[in-house]
């Protein structure tokens, strides 16, 4: 029995210590999108008022982050997709707010092909037909006679949902689409597969070729460059969000305001995403 009491005391002591530590420097937890982990981490590293706050950044996926927001285990949820009505509803039920949305950056989804693939440009419709399985051969889109190998993300990723909603208009992926765990895996697969095609954040595009996309046949083709994405001309782009339970105040507000400032937005381009507005001195990511 005495041993048990000892353990209790120890636990109590630890909790007190932690509380004291927490009181001295407020901790802001940020959880969510794997796509945004690098970006969020960079923000917290560069943030100038680190003497006042401590950050804890974890990934896990947009859905995981939103669940954590609803369960109250994170202050900020980083999400690469907008909150669903059902999730907003859950917030309403628990906290009486529908959630606060902050658009913190913009991301363009690039369509990748192998370096040596002669296909340079596709219309949105062609991309849709390729990924839904209506087009199965590269010669149908002006390439050589070879089967198209599809690479997709896993269906739990925000990128998957974004591509499905935005590009496929809610249609299902072809069953032959291979599901890769992570954008890096998609890039890697396409880099090694002569006839592969995949999609993912433009920040990841290394050793592969990005395809220029036109919104419709006859319209101009755009590569996912800075100007094209920020201006919205490039057809496959999305916002990246922070979600909060209620309007921010105190240290949280200071941080979010800084993220939205020019300094914060400059970090966005450093990491390889697109700012929410063109800054005077932004370079292509």
């Amino acid at each position: 029995m005495s041993r048990r009491r000892y353990a209790h005391l120890l636990g109590l002591g630890a909790i007190t210590l932690l509380t004291v530590a927490a009181l001295q420097r407020q901790t802001i937890t940020i959880k969510g999108s794997d796509t945004m982990v690098i970006l969020t981490q960079r923000w917290t590293e560069v943030y100038p008022h680190k003497d006042r706050v401590r950050f804890q950044v974890t990934g896990g996926g947009s859905g995981t982050g939103i669940a954590a927001l609803i369960n109250g285990t994170t202050d900020i949820c980083a999400s690469s997709r907008p909150l669903r009505p059902s999730e907003s509803e859950q917030l309403q039920r628990k906290y009486g707010t529908r959630g606060v949305e902050v658009r913190v950056a913009r991301d363009g989804l690039a369509v990748y092909v192998h370096r040596n693939n002669p296909v340079e440009k596709l219309t949105l419709q062609q991309v849709r037909d390729i990924f839904t399985g209506k087009i199965t051969n590269w010669k149908q889109v002006g390439g050589p006679d070879a089967r198209i190998i599809l690479y997709s993300r896993e269906n739990n990723s925000g990128t998957y949902e974004f591509f499905k909603d935005h590009v496929l208009q809610g249609q299902d992926f072809a069953p032959t689409a291979q599901h890769m765990p992570g954008t890096a895996a998609v890039v890697n697969a396409v880099a090694k597969d002569r006839w592969g095609i995949g999609y993912g954040g433009a920040a990841y595009a290394r050793d592969i070729k990005e395809v220029a996309i036109a919104e419709a046949p006859g319209k101009p083709y755009y590569l996912p460059t800075l100007e094209n994405v920020v201006s919205g001309r490039y057809p496959i782009s999305r916002f990246l969000y922070f979600y909060l339970r209620e309007r921010p105040s105190g240290e949280l507000k200071a941080f979010i305001d800084w993220v939205l400032s020019d300094d914060g937005q400059r970090v966005v381009t450093e990491v390889g995403y697109y700012p929410i507005r063109l800054l005077r001195d932004t370079k292509r990511p």
Partner: protein, 338 residues
């Protein structure tokens, strides 16, 4: 002290029982699961912070703040009548859980699991047994003493590393060698799984060989048989229970393996028996999708159903191994094995 030991034994049993109970309970949610997302009303009147007051003045590109939202209604609002029969859906041939019409056909996943497992065992069992025969009967003592610990170390090899190896090296090698259309396929995953299960086959087989009475070997030789004849005609049949146990344990290990298949199989839920097409296994499906599934939804329950199926399959196999094959074979070889 005895009470303590008993306590630990029972808590181990209880843990297994509780896991089974937990999985079964979550699976039962299928019956009552009303998709949470279905209950959504579709109003997205969230507060937007940062857009109006703080930033609005400096917005360079005004249309930036007016995004075209993807039409959420497409994915969100499935009518309850969209699922005419859940059983029919589960027996379907398409696995497309994130869809306006979610399709939860388990058939491609079951076939995928069996296909990957079969390929893996096709590699692991013969190679493992032959290696064990060599180590037990033909290798010099010093070599046996080094091989065995090294192979057993391999059993503890992280499957992520094996998966990565398959993804980077084996996939390219097989594609160059066989000219397969798909770089990642069941064969690549099967090779990875074989690497993971080889140590199990090897160790257990080797143990069952070394446990055979020495007299069998000597008597065989004394009768004038060649060493390989003794092994093939006397020792291998005598060790059959051990070989079966090895194969079944390897089956269990491979069937439930997640990381290797997740990385190296391509994960496309195709209903085909071709070894050079991508597969999606049951375990990999749980591994990939459990992370972000809406808690308590139908999809969530079905993932637990898959887990339950995995559990049942391996459990049944172990029971078969324990009570049927072992008893039967032991009876057959009574007097030979100790």
């Amino acid at each position: 002290m005895e009470a303590l030991i008993r306590l630990f034994a029972f808590s181990a049993l209880a843990a297994i029982g509780l896991i089974l109970l937990f999985i079964a309970r979550e699976t039962l949610g299928i019956v009552s699961a009303h998709d949470i997302s279905r209950a959504a009303t579709g109003t997205t009147a969230l507060e937007v912070y940062g857009a109006e007051d703080d930033v609005a003045a400096e917005v360079y590109n005004p249309e930036v703040e007016l995004p075209q939202r993807p039409s959420e209604s497409v994915a969100e609002h499935l009518t309850p009548s969209a699922n005419p029969s859940l059983v029919q859906n589960l027996l379907g041939t398409t696995w497309q859980p994130v869809s306006s019409q979610p399709k939860y056909g388990l058939l491609p996943l079951i076939v995928g699991s069996l296909k990957a497992t079969l390929i893996a065992l096709l590699f692991a069992v013969p190679i493992g047994i032959l290696a064990a025969i060599y180590a037990a009967f033909f290798a010099p003592a010093w070599l046996r003493e080094t091989i065995k610990p090294i192979v057993e170390l391999l059993a503890g090899f992280p499957s992520v590393v094996i998966g990565f190896f398959c993804l980077m090296v084996v996939a390219s090698a097989t594609q160059n060698l066989l000219g397969t259309t798909f770089r990642l396929n069941a064969l690549v995953a099967g090779i990875g799984l074989a690497i993971a299960s080889l140590p199990i086959v090897f160790t257990i087989t080797e143990d069952s060989f070394t446990n055979l009475p020495r007299q069998l070997w000597e008597a065989g030789l004394a009768l004038g048989a060649q060493p390989w004849q003794v092994v093939a005609k006397i020792l291998v049949p005598a060790a059959t229970p051990g070989l079966f146990a090895a194969a079944l344990l390897a089956f269990g290990r491979v069937f439930g393996e997640t990381m290797i298949v997740l990385m190296a199989s391509g994960n496309a839920p195709l209903l085909s028996w071709s070894p050079v097409e991508p597969v999606r296994t049951m375990a990999a499906t749980i591994g990939a999708e459990m992370g972000e599934v809406v808690w308590g939804s139908l999809h969530y329950s079905i993932l637990f159903l898959i887990g339950f199926l995995l559990f049942v399959v391996t459990f049944t196999l172990n029971i078969i191994a324990e009570f049927w094959i072992r008893q039967r074979l032991l009876r057959r070889f009574r007097g030979l094995t100790t």
